[in-house]
């Protein structure tokens, strides 16, 4: 389980997270939603051990995130792969560090996502790079999968491929997935739990199913309503 206890984080004068408390339940897919600057990426980076809390504590299975990095698969929003590598070289390099690398899953996903091992990362399209990042992240059997804006700037067909790949390999009850995105409509069918963030604070959280039933509306409409109310 991933837990945030009174976590605050500032970047200069900007408050990224402000006394945030929440838990990401084991074995569920949680959507981390909110507008730009809400604190979604900061939260994900804290779990990946790339940012530290100014105050409060983030724990992964009761330990500091940096200690748990072997159990975390992280997909950042930006292109973070070496452009001179081919997909095969990037896969070999990644597999060196993780005991949970699944070669069979890698080969299966490679075909599913229409990628070729000899493709050079610096020379493929943005959509193919997004698929490659997903391929390298999801080819591990990591207990925690963090995805920061996996659909950002990607065309509709590639988005469907990415979502299908996530669904295809999700191990319900075993794997905890956290997806931060603006594209709520695209991932609505995926998520079990939701956390709505705004200005570094949790505005709304709970079970996606219960929120939909309670309010009789989609998560997109719920978010619009929540943020309209908050910003008034």
């Amino acid at each position: 389980m991933i837990e945030f206890k009174n976590v605050s984080k500032r970047f200069g004068t900007t408050v990224a997270l402000d006394q945030v408390n929440f838990k990401f339940e084991q074995g569920k897919i949680t959507g981390l939603f909110g507008p730009n600057g809400a604190g979604k990426s900061t939260s994900i980076k804290m779990i990946a051990g790339l940012n530290r809390a100014d105050s409060g504590e983030v724990t992964v299975d009761g330990k500091a995130p940096r200690i748990s990095r072997a159990n975390i698969a992280y997909l950042p929003e930006i292109d973070h792969l070496y452009p001179w590598m081919t997909i095969k070289q990037a896969a070999r390099f990644t597999s060196t560090f993780y005991a949970d690398w699944d070669e069979a899953k890698y080969n299966e996903l490679l075909n599913f996502l229409n990628l070729h091992p000899k493709m050079k990362i610096g020379k493929i399209s943005k959509g193919q790079r997004a698929k490659t990042k997903l391929l390298l992240t999801v080819s591990r059997r990591a207990p925690y999968l963090l995805m920061d804006e996996p659909l950002s700037g990607i065309d509709i067909l590639t988005r469907e491929d990415i979502i299908d790949a996530i669904i295809k390999d999700y191990r319900e009850g075993e794997q905890t997935i956290i997806i931060s995105t603006h594209e709520i409509a695209e991932v609505e069918r995926l998520v079990d739990e939701v956390v709505f963030l705004d200005n570094g604070r949790v505005k709304l959280s709970g079970s996606a199913e219960e929120l939909r039933a309670e309010r009789g509306q989609s998560l997109v409409e719920t978010m619009k309503e929540a943020f309209r109310y908050v910003n008034q």
Binding site: K45, A48, L81, F93, T96, Y98
Partner: protein, 251 residues
Amino acid sequence: MSTSKLKMFFGLYAKDMRESIPEIAVVATVAVVINVIFYLRVSQPESAVAPNALLLLIIPALMVMGLAVFLPLISSFKLLGREWSNNTVYFIMSLPVSGAMILGSKLLVLLSQYVVGTLIAGMTGLVLIWNVIPEIIRFISGQPHCFSLVLLFYLLSAAFLIYLISISFLSQIVGRLSARFSGLITALVFFLTLYIVGKINDFTSSLNIRMFADWYTTPLGSLLTANLMVLLTATVIFTLAVAIYNRKVEL
């Protein structure tokens, strides 16, 4: 899939080594081209007897050796800095490895670059001298402790490079702690560390000379002590760089 710390270290080393191939190729090409040019000049009948023939042999050797020695230091800024400029630092920092492994593998790559570069420069220089004035090599190799002195001098230059690379890593990491003026902070920390270490070194050297006066009178002894002192200083600076990387660097 099996994995080990050693495998991870060599995975990082191989990745960085691949990125250093252009620098090694530059040293090799420059070494061969310069030595061939100078060989063609001194091998002409009128040049072979000229009084500046020896100078014509030493100049290319020094030029290529200088390139082989200082290129790894310049590369140290490129090798670490481009992880940030290419955003690959997100990949590196999310790996289950410590700063010691990340910086250690880069240090080893730069040292490999130094060894390969100086070997190419040294071998091509020796071939040139051997072909033009072989007496020089016979004379030098006949001197007592020749091999030990050359080896210790080479090790001292390698130790000095490790020391400079450690300062380069430390200054870049301190620079990355700030979102603004990162380059300026890096430059300031680099020169400030050189200055402070220089001052400390002046003090400890005078202390060592007084304490180990007999030992210092032999060239072998003073070279060995200098090697150890430089390596010890480099270790302290490298450890500091790793500690700051592990505890303070964020994205």
